[in-house]
Symmetry: C2
Subunit: 200 residues, 2 copies
Amino acid sequence: MGIIERKQRQKEEVRTAILEAAWQLVLQDGWQALSIRKIADAIEYSVPVIYTHFESKDALLMEFTREGFRQLNADLEEARDTAATPAAQLEAMAHAYWSFAVRNPEYYQLMYGLGMPTCETVRQILELVQFSQLNRAVIQALIREGRNPEADVMLKFTTYWSMLHGFVSIHMTSATHATDEFKQMVFSDLVKGVIKNIRD
Amino acid sequence: MGIIERKQRQKEEVRTAILEAAWQLVLQDGWQALSIRKIADAIEYSVPVIYTHFESKDALLMEFTREGFRQLNADLEEARDTAATPAAQLEAMAHAYWSFAVRNPEYYQLMYGLGMPTCETVRQILELVQFSQLNRAVIQALIREGRNPEADVMLKFTTYWSMLHGFVSIHMTSATHATDEFKQMVFSDLVKGVIKNIRD
DNA sequence: TAGTGCTTACTAACACCGTTAGCAAATATA
DNA sequence: TATATTTGCTAACGGTGTTAGTAAGCACTA
């Protein structure tokens, strides 16, 4: 036959066209300006077509959230593999995290800022679970070689993550008029502090 | 005369009615469901009346943002005055910050989550400047009695704030399925770590 | 090949939203 | 009492997410 295969392929093409058009619109005018109608206009299809690929606008945005975490996870793994010791790995990963946020502010905004994901939606994001595991593995290693090998991994991970996200979101909303140099200093201060905290 | 005074008073009453109605709607259905039309309906006035009190919906939301920071600042000052040493003060203030976020999730969401305030809008929030000063004063005192009296106050303040906000926002989005007890442990861990970091 | 289902994608509508122009009624002043 | 001014209204504009109903195209069978 091959007919249904071709249809499947064409459907997939439309789907990726939707995602690409949406991403272009977001790069141009931000998430707030993104609308189903504009996407439909960009891909030269009618509005309801989009609803055959995504249940709702929220579902479409969720797709980008997941993609954001996928890319972040990839960056983190790459950073981890550049260093040998757990402490150096975690430091590299922290910098990769920040770098990701700076290079992809649109993704980061969506991943944390908008929508305020509920407990239900969070559970559906597999990539977030992977993110958690990825970090916890390194932190676990760091704990083992530290002064307090019985420290709670989840506790230390949450501490670490809180610091990272707090730093990023405060600097992303431009609440402080800081130079890049200053931000770098604050960030190093943070990372060193948290690594010391984990090692105890 | 007294006529223009009465008018002024009546106008003020409508203004507070708008804010109160808006707040009720937010408590019921969240910020996302808030609309000018619903507010107008609740106060039994027509829609354009709201625009004689607030330039736009954003301006109305900004009013709540400022009120949120006003309340937060009051809580912080109260917490500060319960303790004697800078370290104890900062610890009390950190807990007050968290407590505020937990007790007023609607305010906290608006203050940080929505709208993604730009550099321009941030400058207009006087309360945010006060917040910064309030915290920096205590941190300055803590630095002076620490091992590194020449530490940068702004740097340490940003570290401190990043940690607080990161912790709150990560736990508010329910990204972790943590018990209150666990959250309390993480938080204490964080606060102790950051105070140690400031003292050095 | 003609006819029959089924899928696809469309138009058009619904119910909202923020915002504002234009007008009528109520009020204050002369 | 008559004029001027303020006040608050209706109704509209251009947008949003979402969906019901319909026409056209396609693959398949007789």
